[in-house]
């Protein structure tokens, strides 16, 4: 399998991508240091800063969530690899407006270690930080071991909640608390239909024969919970919703927001076919969908597949979801 990619030297992929982003969106984004991107406007004094980061290859994750009503800065790793603590520290310094900085990112041990290290270094410089991890993928560890779960597309809801609360001048503790509450009621699960190719590796991350699918696969191609024949959309939807609803558990009468996320190569049309059955499966569990996001919110290069995320709502969370946000990648009015 040759790489059907529009790239130059694989080694230059991340840096050239960043150059392109900065050329395309100079009014929105600027580089505070190599591979450290922040909002062009700089930190607003008194606002809690929000720093995120992770591997490249997941756009709009993570950089795409740097913008008004979202995060303030991002440390950009190599493809599917953690950024360094040095980059995270640079981002932290650049977005600090004196009210402390929230670290919001996915639960991967490389990222955790580097963010923790950066937090220690930031504190030594007098910048207080607080951390919320997205660990929404129910396929990655059983109930009772939630702390070990990896973060996937559901983090999009957390950025929205965190950013809106920070824009409305919440304190670091207040922002942290509402995002923790959101994270506690957030569950995701996905299905992969084809692998992707990391440019520097030049080979598919895994092999999946045509006609098969893998339920529960991670966004870097981490093995899932079950591989089998490709099933119709409605069966896929039912399984994903069953796992998600069984896990929290969501109760009849709950109101939720739903995200149907494409992993990269799956057409938007298919995401809506999937959502149709997700909606029905949730309705069957007497769970009401109040808000629906459908599209690419966290990808794995050109992987085919989709994930479903469900966020339990309360009035405050609904209000924060409805607040406007604006980045070159994610806009809500």
């Amino acid at each position: 399998m040759a790489m059907q990619k529009i790239i130059n030297e694989p080694k230059a992929f991340v840096d050239e991508m960043l150059e392109g982003v900065l050329l395309a969106h100079p009014e929105s984004l600027r580089a505070a240091a190599p591979r450290v991107i922040v909002r062009a406007g700089g930190p607003r004094s008194g606002k809690v800063g929000i720093v995120t980061g992770g591997g490249s290859g997941h756009l709009p994750l993570f950089m795409g969530y740097v913008g008004f009503g979202l995060a303030d800065g991002v440390a950009v790793g190599d493809v599917f690899a953690s950024p360094s603590s040095e980059q995270i520290l640079e981002a932290t310094r650049a977005v600090d407006g004196g009210a402390g900085v929230l670290y919001l990112y996915g639960n991967y041990s490389g990222d955790v270690m580097n963010f923790d290290l950066a937090a220690e270094l930031a504190l030594a410089e007098g910048i207080e930080t607080s951390t919320v991890l997205a660990g929404d993928d129910v396929a990655s560890a059983p109930a009772g071991a939630e702390g070990r779960r990896r973060g996937v597309a559901g983090i999009a809801f957390l950025y929205k909640v965190a950013g809106a609360r920070a824009e409305s001048d919440g304190s670091l503790g207040e922002v942290d608390a509402v995002v923790q509450r959101a994270a506690a009621g957030l569950r995701s699960m996905g299905v992969a239909l084809s692998p992707c190719v990391v440019p520097a590796a030049g080979r598919p991350t895994f092999s999946l024969p045509a006609g098969e699918m893998e339920i529960g696969m991670g966004i870097h191609g981490e093995p899932g919970v079950r591989r089998g024949a490709l099933e119709p959309a409605h069966q896929i939807a039912e399984q994903l919703v069953d796992h998600i609803v069984a896990d929290l558990p969501y109760k009849a009468g709950d109101e939720v927001a739903v995200l149907v996320n494409g992993l990269g190569a799956t057409p938007r049309e298919e995401l809506y076919v999937l959502y149709r059955s997700v909606h029905a499966a949730l309705a069957a569990a007497a769970i009401t969908v109040r808000r629906t996001w459908v599209g690419e919110y966290a990808t794995s290069l050109e992987m085919a597949g989709a994930s479903v995320s469900v966020l339990r709502l309360d009035d405050e969370l609904l209000g924060l979801l409805d607040a406007p946000c604006d980045s070159p990648f994610v806009v809500k009015r």
């Binding site: 790793g77 690899a81 270690m113």
Partner: protein, 221 residues
């Protein structure tokens, strides 16, 4: 300020080359239940070490170890890369504050590295990580110290201990990191991080033994 001993430079260089040469193997092992990138990460780490060595002429041992750690942290910030970087930085501190000469200071360096890695990664012995290998190495170095072994011999024993620990991981369930998400898929294969440690130590031991009479025997000072 004494420059770093040639033995240390050669051992680190040999370990780095061995890791670069094992990249595919390490990717493969990490792929069974992880994301298959340990070889890529360790190649980056090896390059960081070699860059540090190339600029090491006038550095003493502690400074060289610290430069290695900082370089790895910057260039290879994955789980294993960050942990190995932490290990180097802690070892550097231990070495700088010690008056040891031979196996004793080597043991202090490894004990410090293990402590730092456990503090950062929160893995216990038995969780099926490179901590298992490091723990076996520390035990082996303590025994070599008591047995009065020389540096080269102690290093060979340490490499053997790391290999033995790696073999034991074959039947162990991963308790932390990526592999813990699909623990059953790891069984039957050795832990990749542990294997990485064994490969590095084996190469270092062979290099130190092969070092002719012209080189200084000391590893740290």
């Amino acid at each position: 300020m004494a420059p770093a001993p040639a033995g240390l430079v050669r051992a680190l260089s040999a370990a780095a080359s061995a890791l670069e040469g094992s990249a595919d193997e390490l990717n493969r092992l990490d792929g069974y239940a992880g994301d298959g990138d340990l070889g890529i990460t360790m190649s980056e780490a090896a390059r960081a070490v070699k860059d540090a060595l190339a600029a090491s002429q006038d550095q003493e041992a502690a400074q060289l170890l610290s430069t290695c750690g900082a370089g790895i942290a910057r260039k290879a910030p994955s789980t294993s890369g960050t942990l190995v970087a932490t290990g180097f930085l802690r070892a550097a501190k231990a070495v700088a504050g010690s008056n040891g000469h031979g196996v004793d200071i080597l043991e202090q360096a490894f004990v410090a590295a293990l402590g730092g890695i456990q503090a950062r990664g929160k893995a216990a012995v038995g969780d099926r990580t490179l901590v298992d290998g490091l723990d076996a190495v520390c035990t082996s170095l303590r025994e070599s110290l008591q047995a009065g072994r020389g540096l080269g011999e102690a290093l060979h024993f340490a490499a053997a201990a790391a290999s033995g620990a790696t073999d034991k991981t074959v039947d162990m369930e991963p308790k932390v990191g990526r592999a813990s998400w699909v623990p059953q898929r790891a069984i039957g294969h050795p832990d990749a991080g542990c294997a990485m440690l064994a490969i590095a130590l084996t190469a270092a031991a062979a290099e130190v033994t092969a070092a002719g009479p012209g080189t200084r025997p000391g590893l740290i000072c």
